[in-house]
């Protein structure tokens, strides 16, 4: 027998889609666009690449371990967006970029993003495929590679975006001790404290997830993030109302059984 399940999720998706559709219509017809809070981490990309150009040394970029088939996928997509932009800036300014790939699934994606970035800037001759290196899908190999590379190749700028485990503090600490300017970005809440403590610039949580929107300035993406803000207001209202009802003694358990 065919049954429809998860009604509450369906209602949530319908509300979200309605808000998104309405805001997208507003953007398309009335050209209304929200202002984006400028993320210091995104602005820092130019500074990081500029430092590499000035000092004639490479920039090391690690793209995160997250699997695209999991809840880590969205933050990896944000990581790819930042990588694409960084590769484009490097291609334009002539900085050398070393991309450490931490998940085998990302190899074709990173390769094609690097190619696209260099092709756009008509700099395909300067793309060094030997700098797009798979480091093994483990923290240990990437930490070891980082420790060796910052010394041997005298890396001056370090960027780590995507999903990371407990090695975030090691990567930040190693980069800092080697004198690198560093940017870290992750949506793994367990790593926020280490990110803030060990990196010079950071993007945490939603900042990373919306990085793609800010970099591309695509109306569809920006409107999508905008819709998320309205949903957050709705969720906050529901939490406050629910808390008051529960405090007063109303039985709201039936809502969770929907």
């Amino acid at each position: 027998m065919i049954t429809i399940v998860n009604y509450s999720t369906m209602v949530f998706l319908i509300i979200l889609s309605t808000i998104f559709g309405y805001l997208y219509w507003l953007n398309k017809t009335k050209k209304i666009m929200p202002r984006f809070r400028i993320l210091p981490g995104i602005l820092a990309l130019e500074e990081l690449v500029g430092r590499a150009v000035e000092m004639g040394r490479p920039l090391l970029y690690l793209t995160g371990y997250g699997s695209l088939r999991s809840d880590q996928g969205p933050e990896q997509l944000g990581s790819f967006a930042i990588f694409g932009e960084t590769a484009r800036i490097c291609a334009k300014s002539g900085a050398e970029i070393i991309a450490g790939i931490l998940n085998q699934e990302h190899i074709p994606i990173i390769t094609s993003l690097a190619e696209e970035a260099y092709r756009r800037e008509n700099a395909m001759d300067s793309l060094n495929y030997n700098n797009l290196i798979y480091l093994g899908a483990s923290q240990y190999s990437s930490n070891a590679y980082l420790m060796v590379t910052v010394e041997q190749r005298e890396v001056v700028s370090f960027i780590a975006t995507g999903w990371y485990g407990a090695d975030m503090v090691v990567k930040g600490g190693v980069a800092r001790s080697a004198g690198c300017l560093s940017l870290g970005a992750t949506a793994n809440p367990d790593q926020y404290p280490y990110l803030v403590a060990a990196f010079d610039y950071w993007l945490i949580g939603e900042d990373l997830l919306s990085a793609g929107a800010q970099i591309s300035k695509d109306p569809g993406q920006i409107t999508n993030v905008w819709a998320g803000d309205y949903i957050r207001f709705l969720l906050i209202s529901i939490i406050i109302i629910g808390s008051i009802l529960a405090w007063v003694g109303f039985n709201i358990q039936w809502i969770f059984n929907l």
Binding site: S67, R69, S70, A137, S138, G165, A166, P189, D190
Partner: protein, 285 residues
Amino acid sequence: MGKKTESVLRLLSNKPFVQGALVLALIFALANPLGLPIKIDPMSKKVYDIMENLKPNSKILYVASAPTGTMGDLIPQSVPLIYHLMRRGNLKLFFIGIGESADHIMIYIDSEVFKRIGYPEKYGLVYGEDWVNLGYVAGREVSYENFANDVQGTILIDREGNRVAELPMFEDVHTMADFDLVIYNGEKSWMPIQYWTEKFHKPLIVLTHTAMLPIDVIPWYTAGQITAYLCGVRSGADYEVLVDRPGGAVAALDALSISHLFLISLILLGNITYMVEKIEGKEAK
């Protein structure tokens, strides 16, 4: 800046000194255990009581998803727990590894767990009837969902090469609904919650490490989605005392205390010298 302040600051900034001092302190603590009494955490006792009160022939699914690096914090609580389950002698144990870190799971079960407490046969358990090693399933979320909906369809052959459908203990095991308890040993407790316990309402015991506790375990536990949890070496030591089998976790408690005290002293020393440096700077002006 005074000479003493400057030299202290230079020492604290000297990574080989800081890290070397910590390593020496840990070696000393491990070599000379203080043997202090252990205060059992109520949560460890709760897990113990749950295991002790399991009905005979309960089907327990043990998921090992421990990355190699964090094994030091994930194994101490899994060893006494698995020992407790096997010691009962009347439970059905299903071992499986799911997740990208779990490809070493069966080696870890052999080398880290069974090597220390003995194989299940030592406790009178028969392979295929009382315990089974299902091996590793790749694919993260997809494999969680597939396994929950069709156990025998997702895993056709067990670790020993037997067809799962022909094993006696799989006679009435087809979906997640047929298990009585899930024990998850790893870092990503939201995966069994999302795909198994939410949908099939199974009790879930999480064995994880200390860093995961605030963000990853407490919210789920207070929402009732995790029944109980063991966290790190500390819980491992509690459980070793409860099952009356002191081992590596109890021995590591002193090292745990020393490492914490070392970090606290570093933080305080760093702040004191920072304050002194500021005062001296103001005085100089």
